[in-house]
Symmetry: C2
Amino acid sequence: MPPEKQRRLTPAGKRVLDTASELFYREGLHAIGVEGIAQAAGVTKKTLYDCFGSKDDLIAAYLRNRDERWRSWLTGFVDRQGGAPSEKLLSTFDALAQWQQKENARGCAFVNALAELPDTANPGRAVIAEQKTWMLEYLTALASEASLPAPATVARRLFLLQEGALAAHGTGVPGDAMEFAKSTAAALVDTAHRIPDSGEGR
Amino acid sequence: MPPEKQRRLTPAGKRVLDTASELFYREGLHAIGVEGIAQAAGVTKKTLYDCFGSKDDLIAAYLRNRDERWRSWLTGFVDRQGGAPSEKLLSTFDALAQWQQKENARGCAFVNALAELPDTANPGRAVIAEQKTWMLEYLTALASEASLPAPATVARRLFLLQEGALAAHGTGVPGDAMEFAKSTAAALVDTAHRIPDSGEGR
DNA sequence: GGATAACTATACCGGTAGGTATATACGTTT
DNA sequence: AAACGTATATACCTACCGGTATAGTTATCC
């Protein structure tokens, strides 16, 4: 399947989405206004509203777009690295570290968005839940391929560790959160063979 | 030392701080305005500004206040539980779970605040850094008391795990993040005895 | 009884928020 | 040649933002 995932966006619409993605992540959802986004994208507010309808919908589109980029980056990275299934499980930590390095290191965009979207009815909330669910499932699938005795348990452990590493990388405490998370993950995978098999997994 | 930590606040000032604490955490820093806080506290805007000077300073006061409440809750909980040092290390996870249960379960207030305070010069940023640093040091001290071969390593591992559990509890994925984090911590402490001692720790 | 501190009430400031209206221009497509 | 989609420019709406100013009230302390 070619990367033809674009949601049929006009050139101006794409510019708005790209600009919004950067500004929302860097400045925060409430801190930047639609006027500022339109201006930075070289587009009038009218065009922005024609393409996205409302700010909340633009926020949801931003989260969806970021999730897509993250998924393709992550799966591409893991496939490129190759190696044994258990090594793939660990290389997700390298993918995360490099992703944060090329981005603005402000932690998890979805956790940050959640902090600004207390209303469960907000369209962005569903995207956030989807992103986290997908990530956990992806780790579970990798853990299954590695034929560990309790794949779902290992996956959840590594998932928690990644969430923590992302948050810690944002706050800067401890300074080496990313590398450190990987070594912890390695320790967890190593001891995973001793987890009693409770018949869980997929 | 008696709990005489109050920063000499007038009754109206205390009401403002309590109200702001709840609203900032529940709604978000930018989502609620000073007018709304003053109104909810039954106070005029003048009084609020006489007591706190600016919204940014009120935010910093909120974070400081919450950090103080958290520290005394955590240390009190751990001391009350008692047990062997390694059991104390694990009971921090119970403290965290119960803390989130009695609060509004919106994840870590400091991580959430960070998401809305991109400016490193904001007075709140220093409070966030302090909170995370203190927490890591507290875990390191407990790990030292447990005479584990590499206390700083175990502490950082558990720290990452707690950060992750907090974030995951906020997003709701996985559903049982809190209990699950504790069992993972138990596994980490259990294998900690096999960590090669690199002469670190305190 | 006079000063001081803690407070209320109200009105105001410039700026910006999200969102809408109207009218115009440029290409394609048909 | 007409119609449509994409975009522009500009002006406007109501509502609220953080913050300030002025004046008056209440209670306590010395």
